[in-house]
Symmetry: C2
Subunit: 213 residues, 2 copies
């Protein structure tokens, strides 16, 4: 499969570029800034395409079999930028994927995105933006997977996770493990039209993902 | 070598993409329009980079060993566009190649560019634009090659040419043969700091180019 990664230069994106670069898939990294091309090729990207998530990125989608949306405005921008990127950027790409006939769409959402009021007040705008993107994806007709990780950490991945449609206790997970789950989900059709919370746990990634088949 | 082709989607450029795609070189095609990516990959481009010749195309030049400039505004635009692309586009790319440490630069110029007054009046602005670009390249310090083909035709290449620093009789040459000469020149260091007129002839391309060594 040719897999477009939106947000390839982000913290999860970089792990995913490496994992897909080592796989038999064609790893197509989408970035906004042309100067990021070589860093991404070094990490394993087979193709690099420069496109603006908030603009016309149809050329980035041509011949792709799947999209992974892992772009985010990051913690250092205001709520407006979160709406622009995490919500409207995702919605734009979902609509274009449908238009271009790309059948599969995986999105990195967030725990609490399915219930924003259950999270802390200062994070609410973030959960709402994620929720709006997830709702749009669910209604798109695409073969979606919505991955809702807990608090993301920079620790090395353990390869072991806990996945369920709803996990009540908020938890953490290394970004490297989130990337590994996405990597596995791409190869498991059972993750299509599914969504799940994701935190660190005891089950090996492949086993946890295969359990959805 | 990683070779950037500016004007990769032009008529000579497409032949050259195919020839370099079949070679051991990395063929890096530069285009303005992202929708041209897949056509160029189909023709053999290893990498496609979207950049505007008249703008900041430094990211396109990173890690390149050579540039081939075969962009042109084409016969259906006015003299201003010829100055913008054939002259100023080339000058811009020559300056950026020097800045980025790309040592080798081949340019597709035109017979009569070394003596614009010797050509027909209605073509004079074109020869002057080419001459200005060639002069800039000659003075750049880069390892330049200036290829000055005669009237370009769409016929199939014959693989046989006539090359000399100055050919007095104006002649024709298929674009496919021009591409073959550029392809050969990239592998012959003897073409560095050289310039020549080029028309159809009796000498096999490789022999004609090797004679410059």
């Amino acid at each position: 499969m040719r897999i477009l990664i939106a947000g390839a230069n982000g913290k999860i994106g970089r792990h995913l570029v490496r994992l897909l670069g080592e796989s038999d898939h064609v790893c197509r990294a989408m970035v906004r800034d042309p100067s990021q091309e070589w860093e991404l090729r070094r990490r394993g990207a087979d193709e690099v395409v420069v496109a603006d998530l908030e603009g016309d990125c149809r050329a980035a989608l041509i011949t792709c079999d799947a999209v992974v949306f892992t772009a985010g405005s990051g913690p250092h921008t205001g709520p407006e930028k979160t709406v622009d990127v995490d919500q409207n950027g995702a919605i734009n790409l979902i609509d274009l994927a449908r238009e271009m006939g790309v059948p599969r769409f995986l999105i990195v959402s967030s725990m609490r995105a399915d219930d924003p009021d259950s999270g802390p007040e200062k994070m609410r705008h973030y959960f709402v933006a994620k929720q709006n993107a997830d709702n749009h994806l669910r209604a798109s007709g695409l073969n979606y997977t919505i991955v809702r990780p807990g608090k993301l950490t920079e620790e090395a991945g353990t390869g072991r996770v806990r996945m369920a449609e709803r996990i009540n206790e908020f938890g953490e997970i290394p970004r490297e493990d989130v990337a590994a789950v996405i990597r596995a989900a791409l190869d498991h059709p059972g993750t299509s039209k599914r969504e799940f919370d994701l935190i660190s746990g005891d089950t090996p990634v492949d086993e946890a993902v295969a359990a959805l088949d």
